[in-house]
């Protein structure tokens, strides 16, 4: 099951941001970005929310307020990256620092706050993965 979830993440998450690369090639200006992202988020909401409705499942208050915190962090991260680029920092610095830094923070938090111990082979995988992400950002 875990392996299956990892493969789903691998195949879907990267593709989800592909649209922002496609829009300029279709001749759309950046002014359409917010409208595009509104539909993008709304589609995701319906995709997960509709099956919940059919099953009669309801979300609680903790999911709503933690959802608000997560949405704020996601939007905050995107805006910080956009501002860094606008401040004149090149993309090959902004993306590796942001992505690599976030992985480092999660690895430290996982170890310190959640007591996650990893096999040495997994650590090799994390280091190789971080390098791959940084190289992908640079290229």
């Amino acid at each position: 099951m875990w392996l299956f979830l990892m493969l789903i993440i691998l195949l879907t998450n990267g593709m989800s941001s592909f649209g922002l690369k496609v829009l300029p090639t279709w001749g759309f200006s950046s002014s359409i970005t917010y409208a595009y992202l509104t539909v993008w988020y709304a589609a995701g909401l319906v995709c997960i929310g509709a099956p919940m409705l059919f099953k009669g499942l309801k979300g609680g208050l903790k999911e709503m307020w933690l959802g608000a915190v997560l949405a704020a962090l996601s939007i905050g991260g995107q805006l910080a990256m956009a501002n860094a680029l606008q401040a004149g920092l090149p993309g090959n610095v902004v993306f590796p620092v942001t992505v690599g830094g976030s992985i480092l923070i999660v690895a430290v938090a996982g170890r310190l706050f959640f007591g996650e111990k990893m096999h040495p082979l997994s650590w090799v995988g994390v280091v190789a993965g971080c390098l791959a992400v940084v190289l992908l950002s640079v290229s």
Binding site: L11, L70, A80, A84
Partner: protein, 152 residues
Amino acid sequence: MRDGMLMCICGAVSFGLLATVSKIAERKKCDASALTVGVFAWAALFMLGQSIRVAGKFQMTWPVILLAVGLGVCAAVAYFAFQTSIARGKVTIGWLMMNLSAGVPAIVSIWFYGEKLTVFRSAAFGLAFISLLCLFQGHRLEAQAKSGGEVG
């Protein structure tokens, strides 16, 4: 330049906290689908507000709507899978996988737009492959050790 670097660090902290708060939500026994709905509902509301504030209207063409729907579904499925996976595995590996997935559009770009396969990209794909092998094998060994410990 200093402001730009500060913004970069803010971005890293925001994304790092995003994964950390997701793990806190899992520890608080939050339902993964309800949490995903919460995240996407708040973000859609914010984007709608921004869209109306910046452009003064909400206008889209059908191809853009179809693109947004298809890829928005991908994003929701990815976050739902991430939230479900951290109940069974490590948050670090889940988050790394979220970021490694950037390789997929890079492959699509090479195939679709005829972009060049540079030395950097080749090295990145090679490292990503090694990383995936190590992570999957590491997870298998951890599971084996855990079940061995439980039996013993």
